[in-house]
């Protein structure tokens, strides 16, 4: 098999916030680095983040990164690793200042400092009053950040493989990762990108659900790559449902709406969050608000012909505030719901939004697996950062505006660590034909498929199962049922056919490869969700409604071959005392 090789110090898969931050770090330090992205970098889904990015800058009153850490640990329902959370919250201010220096056009306050708004789950003084900790560029923070990072990469002349698709990881002869098989979408050319280290920053996988705020491209590619390389995924049952997706369409309207003073209403015009969470009300954690909305809907207090949504009221904020702080929401509501937010509320419903789980990593972004004794082991040559990684700062539920923080903090951390590692020398991995053939097998399967089922049928069925059986509320029986159906679907997918085998910009081929990944992610979610017999954060079971720290205060692991396992949740902190286990306010 002749496969052309392109050799690099580091290859980064994905050009969202995490990938670009890591790439920038390495490019600026003069390393030979390639950034591979299936879309042009500024089209990555980071661009859609609206609300902001948390950091205890203290621009509107006193703040402390320890308070931020407390909120994050609480928000995560104690499934987050406290060493990682400490690292993230402590480095948040510097990371934001760095972004500001790069040119990110943050909104400003009267003193000319970065504007900070209130956001869900953010408190002062360990659970006190609402904190204004979320730095924002109007309601386009993700867009502003992604473009700023890309612009800095343009300046640093980072080598970009734009519209190239990472097919599968290539293992080295000694069990590490030696790079990736990449497919040029424009020409159909396939190459082996060989590198001393590979960073996966492929983002989320929300497209496994029927309705999601995620982009079409959020298909969990990195997660599929990792599973097929024999490595585990962690906490794959932990999906966040965002309380305010526009009903029926799934388009996101930011939590910043509630941060600016908006609130939710049921069909009786009742501000129901006052009932579920008297302290933080509409700015409770997302899992709490989503569950509350779903209860309202299930108990018949929803609106619409099917009674399947609630309302987000904003008009009382006044046209000026809405125009200045929430301009995107204004247009989105107009376009997708036909609503003028200065006059009427937006119909919203909890919508699949974010994956807290992913490939386990340490705070340096190094991907971990567990050995036979159940001990963590670093996978040589493989890093992960961003939504596809589970470091884990979000645990069982992510706080709003912690995702943009996660991607820059750990994109940077991975970059810094790899930079140092390259400085002290990483050997170029050795690859044999067997490894290359294995990495090519999936692409070859599709390319030589002759007869079989259309993949879109399978895709549609998968999404329906996920939506129905693995949504906001979960139940053992229905999950078992869903899991069986998914397993049958995976079998069918192995025999599905790729009709169009043309080379030039064949999006059907990419969709087929993506579906493989989505199926892996769906299965990992189903297995992990069925297995975790408690309710915690984003995972709420009707049959096990309570958190069970005695049995389940641990990360769940899932391997591609069906094996499952566990990892300890880290309570080890460096500078500050760990947050003690306690129940969350509900």
């Amino acid at each position: 098999m002749s496969l052309s090789e392109h050799v690099f110090d580091a290859v980064i898969i994905g050009a969202g916030g995490a990938g670009q931050r890591a790439a920038l770090q390495l490019a600026q330090s003069g390393k030979k680095v390639a950034m591979v992205s299936k879309v042009f970098p500024t089209r990555s889904h980071t661009v859609a983040a609206q609300g902001g990015i948390n950091a205890a800058l203290g621009n509107s009153g006193p703040d402390n990164w320890r308070w931020h850490m407390y909120d994050t640990v609480m928000g995560a329902d104690f499934l987050g690793d406290q060493d990682a959370i400490e690292y993230m919250c402590k480095h948040a201010p510097d990371t934001i200042i760095e972004l500001e220096h790069m040119g990110l056009p943050f909104s400003r306050n009267e003193q000319g400092k970065i504007y900070q708004r209130a956001f869900g789950g953010q408190t002062l003084n360990f659970g006190g009053d609402l904190a204004h900790r979320t730095c924002a560029a109007a309601d386009r923070t993700g867009h502003a950040m992604l473009h700023t990072l890309y612009q800095k990469n343009v300046e640093a002349r980072t080598h970009c493989y734009n519209e190239w698709y990472a097919v599968d990881l290539v293992k080295s002869v000694n069990g590490g990762i030696a790079g990736v098989i990449a497919l040029c979408i424009e020409t159909g050319e396939v190459v082996f990108l060989k590198s001393r280290a590979t960073i996966l920053a492929t983002g989320g996988a929300g497209r496994i659900f029927q309705t999601t705020t995620n982009a079409h491209t959020c298909t969990g590619d990195g997660l599929g790559l990792v599973l097929r390389a024999g490595l585990p995924l962690q906490d794959m049952e932990m999906w966040q449902f965002h309380p305010t997706g526009i009903a029926g369409v799934g388009v996101l309207v930011t939590e910043g709406c509630r941060g600016e003073g908006g609130y939710l209403l049921n069909k009786n015009g009742e501000r129901f969050m006052e009932r579920y969470a008297p302290h933080l009300k509409d700015l409770s954690c997302r899992d709490v608000v989503s569950r509350s909305s779903m209860i309202e809907i299930r108990e018949g207090r929803g609106l619409g012909p099917k009674g399947d949504y609630v309302l987000l009221k904003l008009d009382h904020l006044g046209e000026e505030v809405l125009k200045e702080r929430l301009p995107t929401v204004m247009t989105l509501a107009k376009t997708f719901a036909g609503v003028d937010i200065t006059k009427a509320p937006i119909p919203v419903t909890p919508t699949c939004h974010y994956l807290m789980g992913g490939m386990p990593t340490n705070i340096n972004g190094e991907v971990l697996t567990v050995n036979k004794l159940g001990k963590d082991q670093i996978v040589p040559g493989l890093y992960g950062a961003g939504e596809c990684a589970s470091v884990s700062v979000h645990g069982a539920n992510r706080l709003g505006a912690n995702s943009l923080l996660d991607i820059v903090v750990f994109g940077r951390a991975a970059g810094l660590h790899l930079e140092a590692a390259l400085q002290s020398g990483i050997e170029m991995p050795q690859v044999g034909t067997a490894e290359l053939e294995e990495a090519m097998s999936r692409l070859n399967r599709w390319n030589f498929s002759q007869k079989g089922e259309d993949m879109h049928v399978i895709r549609t069925e998968m999404k329906m199962i996920m939506q129905k059986d693995f949504g906001v509320f979960r139940d053992g029986d229905t999950m078992n049922d869903g899991l069986k159906k998914l397993q049958a679907l995976k079998e069918r997918l192995a025999h599905a056919v790729l009709q169009d085998k043309s080379l030039t910009f064949n999006t059907a081929r990419i969709e087929a490869l993506e579906l493989d990944n989505m199926m892996e992610v769906a299965l990992s979610t189903a297995v992990s969700a069925e297995r975790r017999k408690e309710s915690r954060g984003g995972h709420s079971r009707i049959d096990f409604p309570d958190r069970d720290d005695a049995h389940w205060l641990k990360h769940s692991l899932y391997f591609g071959d069906g094996r499952v396992g566990e990892r300890q949740v880290s309570q080890k902190t460096k500078e500050t005392a760990p947050i003690e286990l306690q129940l969350r306010e509900h």
């Binding site: 879309v39 042009f40 089209r43 990555s44 859609a48 612009q151 309302l311 043309s502």
Partner: protein
């Protein structure tokens, strides 16, 4: 507990009525076609969910997987799915078919080489973007904290930084059609001004000087096709005018 009177004026409460659409799409796959042609598709709107042109295209792609187009966020912020729909450049994901008659024509963005079907080669567009040096340059040492910027100074960036690089504007501009290699086009010039207007950038003079030749910026004939099509409601023509004013201020 607080109670509010709920009045819902939302229009998506009911499903829109079923319509049979004929969609004429520009097709070209270099692997099989010698030259481009137009293919007509018939589809009932009840066959798919959603009212956006992207929903329609996704439904057509299930019928005909060979149909090529780019898409990602589906909410008008990633800028992937710019295309020429009924003669005007737009984003498919935020354009509703309800605004059109039952016959809709979709063609790729004008003026750029077609890779396949509705997918154009954007290399030239990105090259022009990079010519604008679209990154903050500040030759002073950064302070420990953020660089201060007043609300008024920050407001100058509004209407500039929101560009999503969808290329709708640049590919609607005749000046770009005739000189794609020399005229930077509205998007790149909007970005050029975004950094000239930033109080934190120290390279204003150099930036302006780089635009002074007869082509890069001065090819703009202020016909405002760019403003007409911008899905984000931005005004590149105005940005170009401001760049020119800055140049006049600098040189006179």
């Amino acid at each position: 507990m607080a109670k509010t009177n709920v009045t819902l004026t939302s229009s998506n409460a009911g499903m829109p009525e079923d319509r049979q659409l004929t969609v004429s799409i520009y097709r070209y796959n270099p692997d099989v076609d010698k030259k481009p042609y137009t293919q007509d598709y018939d589809i009932h709107t009840s066959e798919f969910q959603g009212v956006m042109m992207l929903d329609l295209l996704e439904a057509l792609k299930i019928k005909d997987p060979t149909l090529g187009f780019r898409r990602s966020c589906s909410e008008g912020v990633c800028g992937s799915d710019g295309m020429n729909i009924n003669g005007k450049n737009r984003l498919a994901c935020v354009t509703s078919y309800l605004d059109f008659s039952n016959h809709i024509t979709i063609r790729p963005l004008p003026g750029l080489p077609v890779v396949r079907d509705l997918i154009v080669d954007m290399t030239q567009f990105y090259k022009q973007y990079e010519k604008a040096k679209p990154f903050l340059q500040n030759k002073n040492d950064p302070p420990v904290r953020e660089r201060l910027q007043s609300i008024e100074e920050r407001n100058k960036l509004d209407g500039l930084y929101e560009c999503i690089l969808c290329a709708c504007c640049t590919t609607s501009c005749p000046s770009f059609w005739w000189n794609p290699d020399k005229f930077m086009g509205p998007a790149a010039l909007l970005w050029a001004y975004r950094f000239v207007a930033d109080s934190r950038d120290t390279q204003k003079a150099e930036r302006l000087e780089a635009l002074e030749d007869p082509f890069s910026m001065f090819r703009c004939r202020t016909i405002m096709n760019c403003v007409d099509v911008c899905p984000k409601g931005l005004n590149p023509t105005k940005a170009i005018a401001h760049l020119r004013d800055e140049m006049l201020k600098d040189t006179s």
